[in-house]
């Protein structure tokens, strides 16, 4: 059932009043821009989140969208002015811009794959989407030189640690191991769990997995 929304007016501005951020450290290949072109098309050439702009019209979040909208011949866009009623330092501006490109959390790759299969998209829709399955690099680590060789070992280390995190959900004091499998395998997996629960005389699948992990660790420590 639709929830109640207290509607507010969008700040719609002509693209001619907006300008690209000359210090923007982001770039996009023609292929990436083509994807964005298609993504914006899927929402009827309308943005579902605003460009982030300063009072002088400089876009600090959404420069690639701005480029694509101009290319599409779109005349106006939804804008949120980040410095309305306040003065932002250069650090603040960089922080907001980086955050606009940043992502909290990470994909659980098995879940992502499952959801994409269920979505059953045509190829032309699948071609519009990319997913970043690594974690963003901490800016301080970058400055310290740890991320100097992004394509090298450091990047691999980041990816490995991401993989470890992606297999789990974190939920306060409780953490969860999440298993993904084809539904037609469920019966066999449940039977295996039942076998372990019976052997170790425990009640739940989590207790069963813990019991065999303790045994495995003990056996491998010898």
């Amino acid at each position: 059932m639709p929830i109640k929304i207290t509607e507010i007016e969008k700040d719609i501005r002509p693209l001619s009043s907006l300008k690209e951020w000359v210090d923007n450290p982001r770039f996009a290949t023609p292929e990436a821009l083509k994807r964005l072109f298609g993504q914006i098309g899927m929402t009827g050439d309308e943005l579902y989140k605003p460009l982030l702009a300063l009072s002088d019209g400089t876009v600090i979040g959404g420069n690639q969208r701005l480029r694509v909208m101009r290319e599409k011949g779109i005349k106006e866009a939804w804008v949120f002015q980040v410095d309305a009623g306040k003065e932002l330092s250069r650090t603040d501006i960089v922080s907001i811009a980086q955050d606009d490109n940043g992502r909290a959390g990470a994909y659980v790759e098995e879940s992502l794959r499952a959801q994409v299969i269920i979505a059953d998209w045509e190829k032309d829709v699948r071609d519009l989407l990319h997913a970043d399955t690594s974690l963003p690099v901490d800016m301080r680590a970058f400055l310290d030189g740890k991320a100097k060789d992004i394509a090298g070992d450091d990047r691999k280390a980041d990816t490995d640690s991401t993989k470890e995190k992606m297999d789990t959900y974190q939920n306060g004091d409780q953490k969860q191991v999440v298993l993904f499998f084809m539904e037609n395998e469920r019966e066999r997996i449940e039977m295996l769990f039942d076998g372990v629960k019976s052997r170790y005389e425990v009640d739940t699948n989590a207790e069963a997995l813990l019991a065999i992990c303790i045994d495995y660790a003990a056996a491998n420590a010898k």
């Binding site: 109640k4 923007n24 929402t43 990319h130 690099v137 191991v177 303790i214």
Partner: protein, 198 residues
């Protein structure tokens, strides 16, 4: 897939908003803590993306951060996403950072900043995977959608642990993955079950 309409923007009661159960992303507590600090400093400058029923498609971490701050309402952008395919499209595109960061330009931008100012900032260097690649890894990349029908039911099993037990389990699963060449935790768990079941 039918196009997705962008409907309206406004404020919704946080109590009306529901995290999307099919969201393929996880949220880390550390990210929520960073967002809490940012929202306190700058306010909300991005709306959560929701459907008309209040299902959150983009902004799960921000929803948690707003809740942690004690906000009662959230700025939202409402889209008309009625199908799973439309919802997933919004969710993935919301996280699809088009392009990448040029390390040299970034260095110029932040090189003279105090290290403390960089806390809570992250940077993306564009290690993307296409959805096609993600399907290819499952060996079903280019099959026609109709051929996917028999694999469209994916099972999920959640095993909850306290922190200490979780660490023990995770260490073993990683050991099994490395020693037995298992691709992920699910395969490692099944291997263990096969060894230890009655």
């Amino acid at each position: 897939m039918e196009k997705i309409k962008v409907l309206r923007t406004g404020y919704a009661d946080i109590s009306d908003l529901k995290p999307w159960g099919d969201n393929p992303r996880v949220v880390f507590d550390t990210d929520v803590e960073k967002l809490v600090r940012k929202i306190r400093k700058y306010g909300a400058y991005k709306p959560l993306v929701i459907d008309e029923d209040g299902l959150v498609l983009g902004g799960h971490a921000r929803l948690k951060a707003l809740g942690a701050i004690g906000e009662k309402t959230a700025w939202v952008s409402v889209v008309d996403a009625k199908t799973h395919a439309q919802r997933l499209f919004v969710a993935i595109s919301d996280n699809d950072a088009i392009g990448a960061t040029d390390p040299e330009k970034l260095m110029k931008l932040i090189g003279d900043m105090a290290p403390a100012d960089l806390d809570d900032m992250t940077v993306d260097f564009g290690a993307h995977k296409s959805v096609e690649d993600i399907l290819d890894e499952a060996g079903i990349g280019n099959e026609a959608p109709s051929d996917m029908a028999d694999v469209s039911t994916i099972g999920k099993m959640i095993l909850p642990f306290g922190n200490a037990d979780y660490e023990k389990v995770l260490a073993v699963l990683e050991d099994v993955r490395n020693k037995e060449g298992k691709a992920d935790h699910t395969e490692a768990v099944i291997w263990l079950l096969e060894q230890y079941a009655d």
